[in-house]
Symmetry: D2
Subunit: 281 residues, 4 copies
């Protein structure tokens, strides 16, 4: 179904929903899904509305022009995205390919309706698998990191990427890139953050003797593993499981959590709120 998704963040006050709903209704707009949230701390109000495109008598350009007039007095940060325009997802990967394999399957089975203009890796190992899908594969070695990240940014800009997915990329993104692409770089960390940030989280978990392990999908931010969390999950382990077993089990959580987080993002379900996220599922 062709639809427009309207997302809004603005200072909370009486009458926001009424104003937005009346605007949509007066043009015959049919709301498919609607979600609202007030953040008590910041006193900000958040909206996501999905409207059937064919219920409106004008184009998305006209919709945006008209909505801008309503948005201004409410001091809204807003965005209208068009389901006919697929998001462009650039995947970065190292050697471990379980998340890549999972995302590419969701893409080729049309479960995940995005474009994947290219995959970037610091190893050649996954070229053949990626190219079998008809997706360009770019090898960017990491010997000179500033050069490498400049090249990654150039590739991302060249293909007009909307979102960069670190699908177990195992490299720390430089703070300036995190800031330039704030809430546009999605990472999967292989622990239940904030526990076990940094390297080798499953080994840290093994040493601590926890009874559950987890994974966290979050936006990359300048501070490592500390960005806004989009999605998390955990699973039970026991004393019989070695750190290697945890690594193996963990892959199943990682790929599921990343896929869910990415889906929420590309469906405009994730709204940042300070260092937290609102996820309108």
């Amino acid at each position: 179904m062709h639809s427009y998704t309207l997302t809004i963040s603005c200072p909370d006050r009486v009458g926001i929903v009424a104003a937005v709903s009346s605007f949509v209704a007066q043009h015959g707009g049919f709301i498919v899904e609607a979600s609202y949230h007030t953040d008590q701390e910041s006193q900000r109000f958040f909206i996501r509305q999905e409207i059937r495109a064919d219920s409106l008598p004008f184009s998305v350009t006209e919709l945006r022009a008209r909505f801008a007039l309503l948005a201004e007095p409410f001091k809204m940060n807003w965005q209208i995205s068009d389901s006919a325009v697929k998001k462009r997802v650039v995947i970065l990967v190292s050697k471990q390919d379980h998340c890549l394999n999972d995302l590419l399957h969701r893409w080729r089975s049309k479960e995940l309706e995005v474009d994947i203009p290219c995959v970037i890796s610091n190893h050649e190992d996954l070229r053949s698998f990626v190219e079998w899908h008809g997706i360009p594969f770019h090898y960017v070695p990491m010997q000179d990191k500033p050069v490498a990240f400049a090249e990654i940014a150039r590739l991302f800009e060249t293909v007009q990427g909307d979102v960069m997915v670190l699908a177990r990329f195992m490299q720390i993104i430089p703070p300036d890139l995190c800031e330039r692409y704030a809430e546009r770089i999605i990472n999967i960390h292989h622990s239940f953050l904030p526990s076990f940030a940094g390297a080798k989280p499953y080994h840290q978990a093994f040493q601590r003797g926890v009874k559950l392990i987890g994974a966290t999908c979050h936006y990359a931010s300048a501070e490592l593993d500390a960005g806004p969390i989009i999605e998390q999950d955990t699973m039970r382990i026991d004393h019989g499981d070695s750190a290697e077993d945890m690594v193996r089990y963990g892959r199943d959580i990682e790929k599921t959590v990343l896929a869910r987080g990415l889906r929420y993002h590309v469906e405009d379900r994730v709204l940042a709120c300070g260092n937290k996220t609102i996820v309108f599922r």
Copy 2:
């Protein structure tokens, strides 16, 4: 916080949210929480809005009178409940008291903000525990079932009960009572329905060799264990667990699932839709 909760079910069409939101906004009503759902099959629309009482310039009576005018052309089934008026919950119990113990604790710790005008049982065993809470306890033996259920209905009416909770009551409620109190009798069944309806579900589960057990909170209906489901949950077991172990583990799911389902109900979060429920959490 003193609030009014508005729940609506009506045929779907353009402009419902706009009309309702504008009505609330024009009186300065501050919406604390709002949820919407369209049921595709029945083409009906469902709303739950929670409004701060002190943001409105009139009483709940006036609110109801004014809202009735708006509701009529939309053919709305609607209800406005007032958080200042606690729901009256009558608990029916047999000998097993884990759900009763759990509910009474939530009540006395004010987690569950309801009135419990009485507890009814077909055994005397739990009288002392109930009365320690200062709650009247009525013993209704089950030798003559029609007489017993007539007495239960009489007690329920006398205390002006809003909802009857079968907290492991272990007796089948007659169909006519289920119909008279449709969506007002909440049962906890000790299986993941529709699996293992009827008697001894854990023993059925043990025989079938399932790897998870569950519990289901649902509205009682004329057909046994087939009413609209409000809440469910499952937990993992393994081959080492006997049917008795399952009974023991299951108690923890039963009490949690019942408590969640009851909370949803008394907070007007559950809207029936045919034999299904919409639960606006």
Copy 3:
């Protein structure tokens, strides 16, 4: 690590563990993992022991010959498998490829240490993907079912398959094949059995209004969807999810549950006990 896995089922009595452990110890055998279970109903005892191959002074053939002497008076059903000999897994698939994609990834990343001598399908759609892995792909159309299943059995025998995996094969295996390959055909059913056996389980689940959906990995048996359950899992859904959403979410449970079930099977962790399984995780 090279190891031998000993699995035993026999009538319960005093001294079984002592006899088996003493046998292993007297040859210097180093037990890596050991699990025991008594089934109360059948009064049978079950053992799984994993022994380091390099701790024993003789070959697996000699081990089997010697163990046979011990096993006889205890009336043991027993089996010793050698980790150096990989199980041969034949995968049957239709058009939906999420389970296939998942299993092939686990295979090519060496997470699942098995041989996959071929993939069989009643559609040509997945040929290219399977052949990219260097695995033979056999197209067996289903127009004439007896002919088709005879061909499937022939292929399975030709490649000396140990286990047949129905990775969303969507065809009912004839009872005689189920019996010939008892506990050697693994199916993934897309519901939490025994709920919603048969066709379109997610649509059945949607109609019933359940609050969790699930998947079940089980041995195929003559009665449809009624064989011994190996593994199950569930996930939460809500009223906002359509039957199509459930199909999508469900794929994630299906592939994980099938992969876990298959792993347990190929590691000789699953022992049948009537229509139930013991899974020594």
Copy 4:
């Protein structure tokens, strides 16, 4: 069923299971449940065996005397407990009573087969509820902490307590007490440790924006919230949940996790291994 539970920890080597099993078998001992584990790091071996008391021809005293001879050459740390001698559990509580309510219910319904010789609190609030159960209640105010903890230790010794349960006691146990009663003080911490140790974990979790909350049952050790973990669990929350909602939901996890951890402990299922635990479920 009357049984003896044997737990052993010793350096790993060939023949331990054979020696122990043969010892039991030669006296006709019927093993009800047996679990084994090797800790790779410390190269230590762990055993738990539950033996039917009526299958042995002598008393537990004689069993211990005979087993001591076997244990010595293997350098075993071992213990044999008798199910006829109930563990004595002293519960410490502050004002929040959800864990206490839960534990007392399990005790009075005989789900948890222990003795509760007394409950100790730094507030008078729960006296009536505890005394209704016929359990002595001791009020120990916390104004002078050294005096208070000396009194707690005295009470614990007087009633010959086996294990002290901090059922949301909200007071930091002095390091010397933690050491004196190593692995005998069980705490419930209201977060998924190691995340959010210390005060107000739900508020920490709310600030960080995690998508799951949890609880941890662990042995108290000199370092706060850093002792060996016995059991943990998590549950899903979302952006709509306030810190107060988390506190409320969290109570359900806390009481379940504490009850499971305590059960494992009193059934001798928990063996310490450095700062980790082996839990033979």
